[in-house]
């Protein structure tokens, strides 16, 4: 009976369409291993991809793999950070699920005095919750990355986010606490500032 139901397509799942914004990351971090501050450095988008794919951070990133912020069409803020395959247009691995802490939308901003803008914009505070990804020797185990993003929207359509960026420039904060394993050694990286840089390229993900 179950087979019959499946065969009839009664349980077919509906698909969701999302925008994937190609981004890079530069996260200033203090890395702690075995209880001591081992180093200070910059955690890059390539590092995030490599660990999420179970590779050493020194590895070259395949050209088809890119770091992507996913905005589901109809939503106003990203809901996940993924490693996206731009050849097969698929999600290779979800690095973090994002909690949208809050959103403010506006077409007129009074932030820097009175200035008007006909374009819809949105500011949001995000908390990206890193899950387990990668392998036993190189990978992510947990963590959180909290940062504001600033978005511009087109004035029509459901997939309406035009651009997205987040950074700690202009006095905004960008903090986190990411944990993983690198070459078999667990580490924690406290992020003290950083930025998520959108390249301007977007892709479509249908799941």
């Amino acid at each position: 009976m179950a087979a019959g139901v499946l065969a009839s397509g009664a349980l077919a799942q509906s698909s969701t369409t999302s925008q994937v914004f190609q981004v890079d990351a530069n996260l200033f971090s203090v890395v702690l291993t075995n209880g001591f501050e081992a180093s200070k450095g910059i955690l890059t988008g390539a590092d995030i991809i490599n660990l999420a794919r179970g590779r050493a951070v020194t590895s070259a990133v395949p050209t088809n793999e890119l770091l992507g912020l996913v905005v589901q069409c109809g939503e106003d803020a990203p809901t996940s950070l993924i490693v996206f395959d731009n050849v097969s247009n698929t999600n290779l691995v979800t690095v973090a699920n994002i909690d949208v802490q809050g959103v403010v939308q506006y077409t007129v901003s009074f932030v820097a005095g009175i200035k008007s803008s006909g374009q819809l914009r949105a500011d949001a505070v995000l908390a990206a919750n890193f899950g387990v990804s990668g392998g036993v020797s190189n990978g992510w185990t947990s963590g959180i990355l909290a940062f504001p993003v600033f978005e511009k929207f087109t004035n029509s359509g459901s997939c309406a986010v035009q651009s997205i960026s987040g950074n700690s420039i202009s006095g905004n904060s960008f903090v986190g606490n990411l944990k993983g394993i690198q070459s078999g050694t667990p580490f924690a990286a406290v992020i003290t500032k950083g930025k998520i840089i959108a390249s301007g390229r977007t892709w479509t993900l249908v799941e």
Binding site: V30, L32, V104, T107, D123
Partner: protein
């Protein structure tokens, strides 16, 4: 003297009476009180809130909140108004724990006027072996206040580069900057989300007084 001490005292209470038909005489009950030091907290929040003008046009209005506003809202008083002198924002020093209560401390009564929330320092932060270093902390605020002036919730994340801990594991210094959101009633019955793009949470370990609790 170590930075934080716990004093356990007993009050001897002698009870007498008839319980369950049985005469009970001279039963000694022990009431235990715990005292912890409360240290200073300075917090600021810069961000924006959603606004709409008379034409319904959405705009982003800047917001800047400080200790005064948090204390007022937690006590159910309007933000931006005068804070009772004895009401001070403070962090309760608990040894060897990663979750520290954030309270409005009544410095006259040495009591907790209201618990505002808790600051959690990641337990896996191994910098405590050094008793100083970079830490990550999360501040969660509770639903406290009155109907029209109230903190509904808040979640903030901080990174601090020079946190210090005493030999007993008590946090003695933290200067962290971060990001978060505050949901609150500001002279209204509807809650409003304040996006906070830069917040600073600072304690120098200055003692405000002893909090005595049963």
């Amino acid at each position: 003297m170590i930075a934080s001490r716990i004093f356990r005292t007993t009050k001897r209470l002698w009870l007498g009476g008839v319980m369950g038909g049985m005469m009970v005489l001279g039963v000694q009950a022990l009431a235990v009180t715990v005292s912890n030091e409360v240290i200073d907290v300075t917090m600021s929040m810069d961000g924006e809130v959603q606004g709409r003008d008379t034409h319904g046009t959405a705009f982003a209005a800047p917001v800047n909140l400080t200790n005064r506003d948090l204390v007022n809202l937690a006590l159910g008083l309007p933000a931006r108004t005068h804070v009772p002198e004895q009401a001070v924002l403070g962090l309760v020093q608990l040894p060897n724990t990663n979750m520290l209560p954030l309270i409005v401390f009544d410095s006259r009564g040495s009591s907790n006027a209201v618990t505002v929330g808790s600051l959690t320092i990641d337990p896996a932060q191994p910098t405590r072996k050094l008793r100083a270093g970079t830490v990550f902390a999360e501040l969660n605020l509770l639903n406290v206040g009155s109907i029209s002036n109230r903190i509904v919730s808040g979640r903030f994340f901080f990174a601090g580069s020079n946190a210090k801990f005493g030999t007993n594991g008590c946090l003695t210094k933290l200067d962290g900057t971060g990001v978060g959101t505050l949901t609150a009633h500001f002279n209204a019955t509807n809650a409003m989300d304040a996006l906070v793009y830069k917040t600073r949470f600072r304690t120098n370990g200055n003692k405000l007084g002893m909090l005595v609790e049963p």
